[in-house]
C-alpha cells in the first residue's frame, strides 16, 4: 500500500514538473523547456503504468472501480495519447494542455475517497477491463480533439479580426489544428465505438441484456452520435475548420458529463457504488 502511495506521489511530481516546463515553453517560447517536459512526462507515464500494474496485481482486477482509480487511469490514458500525438506534432501548447489536465485529474483522484470495498461479482470478467480501457483511450483522444478545437477557434478569431494577442505567436497553424482534430477523431471514434460494443457484450454476459438504457448508456450514445455526425460531416460533406472545432468541443462537453456528471448526479449501474455492490 505504501509503495503504491510513493509511486502515486512520484507520478504527481512528474506531471507537475511537466506542466510547469510546458507552460514555460509556451509562455517564454523556450524550445529546450518543451523537450525536457516531454521526457519528464514520459517518465511520469512509465511510473504511472507501473503503479497501475502494481495495483492490478494487488486487487486482481483492473483498478477502475472507484472514482479515484478511474480518474488516475484516465490521466494515464490522456498522457499516453498525448505522447503518441506528440511523436508527430511536437506542440508545446498541446503538451501544456495535456499535462495540466492530467495533473488536475490526478489531483481529483487524490482527493476522491479511497475505500477498497468488496467487489461486485459483475466485474469479474475480461469484458470489463477491455470496455474501460477502450472507452478511456477514446475519451483521451477526444480530449486532444477538444484542445485542438479550442485552439482553432482562438486562432481563427485572431486571424479574422486581425488583432493578434501574444497567443497568436504561440499557437500552431489552422491547418495543423484541424489536422489534429481529424486525427483525434479518427483515433477516438473507433475506440469509443468498440468501447460501447464491448460494454454491451459485458452487460449481456452479466445481466443478460445488451442495453438497459441506464443514464450513462444514454449519454454515451448521445455523445457517440455527436462524434458520428462530425465524422460523417468531415468525410462526406467537407466539414472542417471552425465547424469541426465546435463539434469537437460540444462532443467533449457531452463526454465529460457522461464520465463525471452521470456518475455524480444521476444513478444507474455505472456508478461506483453500484460497481462496488454497496447500494
Amino acid at each position: 500500500m505504501s509503495a503504491h502511495i510513493v509511486l502515486f506521489k512520484i507520478v504527481m511530481l512528474c506531471y507537475l514538473t511537466a506542466s510547469i516546463l510546458y507552460l514555460v515553453a509556451v509562455v517564454s517560447r523556450r524550445v529546450k523547456s518543451g523537450i525536457l517536459a516531454r521526457w519528464v512526462l514520459l517518465g511520469g507515464a512509465i511510473v504511472h503504468l507501473m503503479s497501475l500494474v502494481a495495483r492490478f496485481v494487488q486487487l486482481g482486477h483492473t483498478p477502475v472501480t472507484t472514482l479515484n482509480e478511474s480518474l488516475s487511469f484516465f490521466a494515464w490514458c490522456l498522457v499516453l495519447i498525448f505522447l503518441i500525438f506528440d511523436l508527430r506534432y511536437r506542440l508545446a501548447v498541446l503538451g501544456a494542455f495535456s499535462s495540466v489536465l492530467a495533473l488536475m485529474t490526478m489531483l481529483g483522484s487524490g482527493f476522491a475517497p479511497k475505500a477498497v470495498e468488496p467487489l461486485n461479482p459483475a466485474l469479474n470478467s475480461w469484458w470489463f477491463p477491455l470496455h474501460v480501457t477502450l472507452a478511456f483511450l477514446g475519451n483521451a483522444a477526444f480530449a486532444m480533439a477538444f484542445a485542438a478545437g479550442v485552439m482553432y477557434l482562438l486562432q481563427d478569431r485572431m486571424l479574422k479580426s486581425k488583432r493578434f494577442s501574444p497567443l497568436y505567436y504561440r499557437l500552431p497553424s489552422l491547418d495543423t489544428l484541424d489536422n489534429i482534430n481529424y486525427r483525434a477523431l479518427s483515433f477516438g471514434f473507433p475506440l469509443m465505438t468498440l468501447g460501447i460494443i464491448s460494454g454491451a457484450a459485458w452487460a449481456e454476459s452479466v445481466w443478460g441484456t445488451y442495453w438497459s438504457w441506464d443514464p450513462k448508456e444514454t449519454w454515451a450514445l448521445l455523445t457517440w452520435f455527436v462524434y458520428a455526425a462530425l465524422l460523417h460531416g468531415r468525410l462526406s460533406i467537407g466539414w472542417r475548420g471552425r465547424r469541426a472545432a465546435l463539434f469537437a468541443i460540444i462532443g467533449f462537453a457531452c463526454l465529460v458529463f457522461t464520465f463525471l456528471g452521470v456518475n455524480l448526479l444521476l444513478g444507474g449501474q455505472h456508478t461506483f457504488d453500484a460497481l462496488l455492490g454497496t447500494p
Partner: protein
C-alpha cells in the same frame, strides 16, 4: 585596461552627418593604422555601416583615448570637430561592453532583430585581425560578442516575425496553411508589392502560380517570369476554386471579386481555406468576404497592422535578450578585471606563500625539528619563493607599459591557475 566605444548612429545623427564620417569598406588599412597610432589607444576596431560609425578601442587611459579618438574621427574625415561632437556618444568599461553586445545582437538596430549588423561587425573585425589592430582583449571580446549574438538569435524569437508587408503575407499564409508546398497562388493584376510577395511565395515553394491581367500580354510576361500560367482576365473567376492564395492589385475602380462569388468558390472547394491579399487601393475584393467561414481577407492596412504587432513581439523578445547580455557581461567583465597587474602579483604571491607554508608545515611536523632548524627551513623556503617570483614580478610590472602586456598577465593567471578576484575586489578596481 578599459574597453571604450565612440560613435554615432541613426539614433543620434542624421544621414547628412553619418555619410560624412563613414569609412569606405574597401580601404580600412589606413584608418585602422592611424587609429592605432594614437598613443592612448592599445587596440582598435572600426565598424562602419549606413546606420552607424563606431570605434571600439582598448586603453589604459580611457579619457585621453576618447579625446584622441574624437579628434581622429573629425580630422580623418575633414569634418569640423564642433559639428561632430553633438552627435557622438561614448561608453567606457562595462557600458562599452554592453553597447557592443547590444549592437551585435541587433538590439540597437533601426529594425530590432535585423540580421545584417552581425555580418557587418564580423567584417569589421576581419579587417582588424588582418591589419593586426585587435589584440588580446578585443579578440576575446569580439568572439564573445559573436557568440552572444548567436545565443540571442537561437534563444529568443527576436528575429522570427516578419517586419515587411510582403513577408508578413507569407507568414500569415503559413499560419493558415502550415506548409505552402502544395498550394496554388494567383496574381490578379500587377504591382510592385504584389510581385514581391509572389516572389516570396515562390521562394517558399508554392506548387503553382497563375497570373491574370486585363492586358493578356502582361499576364503572359509575368507568368513567364514566375514559371507560372497566364489566365485570361475574363476566365479567372472559373479557376478560383483551385487557388489557395490570391494576391490582388488591379487598378480597377470597383470590386473585382464580390463576397457572393467567393462564397460560391468556398463551397466548391469543400471549405478548404482561402487566403486573399488585397493590395489595391481602391480595394479589389469586397471586404465583406472576410466574414465567410474559411476565407481570410487582408488589405494593405491589415498587413501593416500585422507588421506592427510583429514589431511589438520583437520588442518583447528584446527584453529577454537584454537578460542574456547581462549575464554575459558579468562573465566577460570578470575576465577583463583579472588583467590588472597589481591584483595579479598579489594573487601570485599569495598562491606561492600558501604552497610554501603548507609544505613547511608538512615537513616540520614529520621532522619534529628544534627552533633552529625550523627557522632555517622557514628562511630557506621564503628565499626560494622570493627568488622564483623575482623575474615574473618585475616582468608583470613592466607589462603595464608594453602594448601587449595583458598577454603576460593572462598567461601568468593561466600558468598558476590564479582565481579570478572576488566581486568586491572588482568593485574596488572599477
Amino acid at each position: 585596461m578599459k574597453m571604450l566605444v565612440l560613435g554615432l548612429s541613426h539614433k543620434t545623427a542624421p544621414v547628412e552627418i553619418r555619410e560624412k564620417v563613414a569609412f569606405s569598406p574597401t580601404a580600412m588599412a589606413e584608418p585602422l593604422r592611424q587609429m592605432l597610432a594614437l598613443d592612448a589607444v592599445n587596440e582598435g576596431i572600426i565598424v562602419s555601416t549606413c546606420n552607424r560609425v563606431e570605434l571600439y578601442a582598448v586603453s589604459r587611459e580611457p579619457d585621453r583615448a576618447l579625446l584622441q579618438l574624437k579628434h581622429f574621427l573629425a580630422e580623418y574625415h575633414a569634418v569640423l570637430y564642433e559639428h561632430l561632437e553633438e552627435h557622438l556618444y561614448n561608453y567606457v568599461g562595462e557600458d562599452a561592453i554592453r553597447h557592443v553586445l547590444r549592437v551585435a545582437a541587433s538590439l540597437d538596430s533601426m529594425v530590432i532583430g535585423e540580421p545584417q549588423i552581425l555580418g557587418q561587425i564580423k567584417t569589421a573585425y576581419g579587417y582588424a585581425s588582418e591589419f593586426k589592430t585587435a589584440g588580446l582583449i578585443l579578440n576575446r571580446f569580439m568572439h564573445k560578442a559573436f557568440s552572444v549574438a548567436k545565443r540571442v538569435r537561437t534563444e529568443t524569437a527576436i528575429a522570427s516575425n516578419a517586419v515587411s508587408v510582403s513577408f508578413a503575407a507569407v507568414e500569415l499564409a503559413r499560419k493558415i496553411f502550415d506548409h505552402l508546398e502544395d498550394k496554388t497562388v494567383m496574381l490578379i493584376g500587377a504591382g510592385e508589392m504584389c510581385e514581391l510577395a509572389a516572389k516570396h511565395f515562390i521562394n517558399c515553394g508554392v506548387a503553382e502560380v497563375m497570373v491574370t491581367n486585363r492586358t493578356f500580354a502582361r499576364a503572359e510576361k509575368l507568368a513567364a517570369e514566375f514559371h507560372g500560367r497566364a489566365v485570361a482576365f475574363e476566365n479567372f473567376r472559373d479557376q478560383l476554386h483551385r487557388v489557395d492564395i490570391v494576391l490582388s492589385s488591379t487598378g480597377a475602380p470597383d470590386y473585382v471579386l464580390e463576397a457572393s462569388k467567393l462564397a460560391e468558390v468556398i463551397k466548391l472547394r469543400r471549405n478548404k481555406p482561402m487566403f486573399l491579399i488585397d493590395i489595391a487601393v481602391p480595394r479589389d475584393i469586397e471586404p465583406k468576404a472576410n466574414k465567410i467561414d474559411n476565407i481570410y481577407l487582408y488589405d494593405v492596412d491589415d498587413l501593416q497592422g500585422v507588421v506592427q504587432s510583429n514589431l511589438k513581439e520583437r520588442h518583447k523578445e528584446a527584453a529577454k535578450a537584454e537578460a542574456i547580455i547581462d549575464v554575459e557581461i558579468a562573465q566577460f567583465y570578470r575576465w577583463l578585471s583579472t588583467l590588472e597587474v597589481k591584483p595579479t602579483i598579489v594573487a601570485l604571491r599569495n598562491k606561492l606563500e600558501d604552497l610554501r607554508q603548507a609544505e613547511v608545515q608538512k615537513t616540520l611536523s614529520s621532522l619534529g625539528a628544534d627552533d633552529k632548524t625550523t627557522k632555517a627551513i622557514e628562511n630557506l623556503t621564503r628565499a626560494l619563493v622570493n627568488k622564483i617570483l623575482h623575474q615574473p614580478t618585475s616582468l608583470l610590472k613592466d607589462a603595464q607599459n608594453l602594448p601587449d602586456g595583458e598577454v603576460y598577465i593572462d598567461a601568468v593567471r593561466m600558468l598558476f591557475a590564479l582565481p579570478a578576484p572576488a566581486a568586491d575586489e572588482e568593485d574596488e578596481q572599477a
